[in-house]
Amino acid sequence: MKALVKNKNWQAYQKEIADDHYYFARSCIRQNIFPAAEDVFLKIIGTELGKDIFDDVRQTTCTGIAYHSGLLPFETTMTVVAHQFALMNEAGYENFVCSCVTSFGIYSEVLETWAFFTDTLKNTREALKRSTGKTFKIPRNLVHASDVIFKYREEIAAKAKYRLVNAKTGEPLKVVDHIGCHYAKIFPEKGIGGAEYPYVLAGLIDEWGGEQVDYPERRHCCGFGFRQYLLKSNRGYSVANSKKKFDSMKPYQPDLIISNCPGCTFFLDRWQYTIAEIEGITYGANGFGIPVLTYEELAGLLLGYDPWDMGLQLHQVTVEPILDKLGIVYKPEGKYRGLNNVCLGKPVMPEILKCI
């Protein structure tokens, strides 16, 4: 009996992640808010690991943000998803990798719906054919981009120039992992480690030398809430939920927050600025915030990529404290430069949150 329970627990950590030949789907939020992050992912997978990954000019949104805001019928979302699969088929791929966690939830939900309510699959095929003339095959493998980084975490560690340790003290850096709700809360079996103990980012922290921060609100939502954030009148929902997390993690003095969801990364970054300016509260040391990175930005840093080429100057919470702790060599003056090293001047500095 004990062995059976152990086997069942272990199964939660098994997930089929294709080895190679990926069709990459970009994210609505990530490409706008962290505009270089997805190309860092493509560089790691393509150049560092030598895998084939296709970035299709024709791809689009999955519509997930609009669907979860109550704006679109599910029939529309299912057909747009089918259109994405048709584009993948036409490009000659069968392994779908998405950058967005909301998208990962949407694609998973659509596949489950088609499998369980078979009429919806038939109706979607007909709707896609009537509207675009296209047909599609269901992907052989569907994963989130963070799954692929997890799969190759050892290979990345082997190539890394830095580890998640304090360069001065040699101590592991304390890292908060925030998993986007739609990665595993909808379908726990589709996420590495399930919903309660997801390991997709914790595995990176462990492998790359850091220390996980376990805090009471670790699994709480960042507070996106779709329509709750997108409407200015409702945004208190979003900042209040992020604050609940910050207040909960602060006593553990984390050095860094990482997230696999573009929305969560954005909110955990920007709401620290907002809370500082409204409430006068800062969560990092010496008036700074806690730096927030995406998984590919963290991997890029450890691999030795220039932080300003990865767009880390576009985070509102200053990242220099984590660069210094990691011992990364960087040019402070390169932060606010444009093409050909042209100086663009600094942004206005916030009144309370310390930034550089």
Binding site: R58, S69, L72, H83, H182, Y237, A240, K244
Partner: protein
């Protein structure tokens, strides 16, 4: 067909509601319940009554628009119910019947249609850098103003495809893809829903004597978006 029957015919109800035992686990875990009087346990209980009048009251209420669709409730319900799916079905029915216009939160669907809804058909994505500014999104902070001021320089330096017809982030989406999205919207009911939201909003603005036009600077949009 009664409204209860229409609601029950939605497959999200089949997935989302078996028999709720009213334990309140969903409410305990719910981020919306932590910041407002939203109570998913109560919503599911009301739906479970299968009562036409109770259902109409829900469809006309702000309550069904308070959920943040994080779906934490799906993970934790001991009976495998999904209040978040029930909410999705209620919202659809509220729009289809026009009852969404009876609540302050329901009427705000107009602002979502004018932003993320139209962005999909214009840019191919729900969000676009050209549509985000610190007046609408002040939390973006001064770093966003810096990006906007130096957009071409910064986005070029970061290797994006902003303004270009090639693969990459922030590219111009090919006409064929935008055309396909529009045709899918026409085919699957999204265009009809958008037209319905616009029509109701225009009527509501006229009734309230509020300025209404095609852009997002009119008084009616601001009221729906900000207040």
């Amino acid at each position: 067909m009664t409204l209860v029957e229409r609601l029950r015919a939605d497959f999200r109800m089949v997935e989302g509601l078996k028999a709720c035992i009213n334990c309140g686990t969903c409410t305990a875990i719910c981020p919306a319940a932590g910041v407002s009087d939203y109570d998913p346990r109560m919503v599911v209980d009301m739906v479970q009554e299968n009562n036409e009048e109770t259902l109409i009251a829900l469809l006309k209420s702000d309550t069904i628009w308070r959920c943040g669709e994080c779906l934490s409730c799906k993970t934790r319900c001991p009976r495998e119910n999904v209040p978040g799916y029930v909410i999705q079905a209620l919202r659809s029915l509220s729009i289809d019947t026009g009852y969404f216009m009876e609540s302050t939160q329901g009427r705000k669907q107009f602002a979502l249609k004018r932003t993320i809804g139209e962005h999909i058909l214009k840019y191919g994505y729900c969000v676009h850098v050209d549509e985000v500014n610190t007046e609408m999104f002040p939390e973006q902070g001064p770093v966003w103003d810096w990006l906007q001021k130096n957009k071409e320089q910064v986005l070029e330096r970061l290797g994006t495809s902003y303004g270009k017809q090639q693969s990459g982030s922030l590219r111009i989406i090919p006409e064929e893809s935008l055309r396909n999205l529009k045709r899918i919207f026409d085919e699957t009911g999204a265009t009809k829903r958008f037209e319905q939201i616009e029509q109701y909003a225009r009527l509501n603005a006229r009734q309230e004597g509020i300025d209404f036009d095609e852009g997002n600077s009119c008084e009616y949009f601001k009221k729906m978006y900000e207040k």
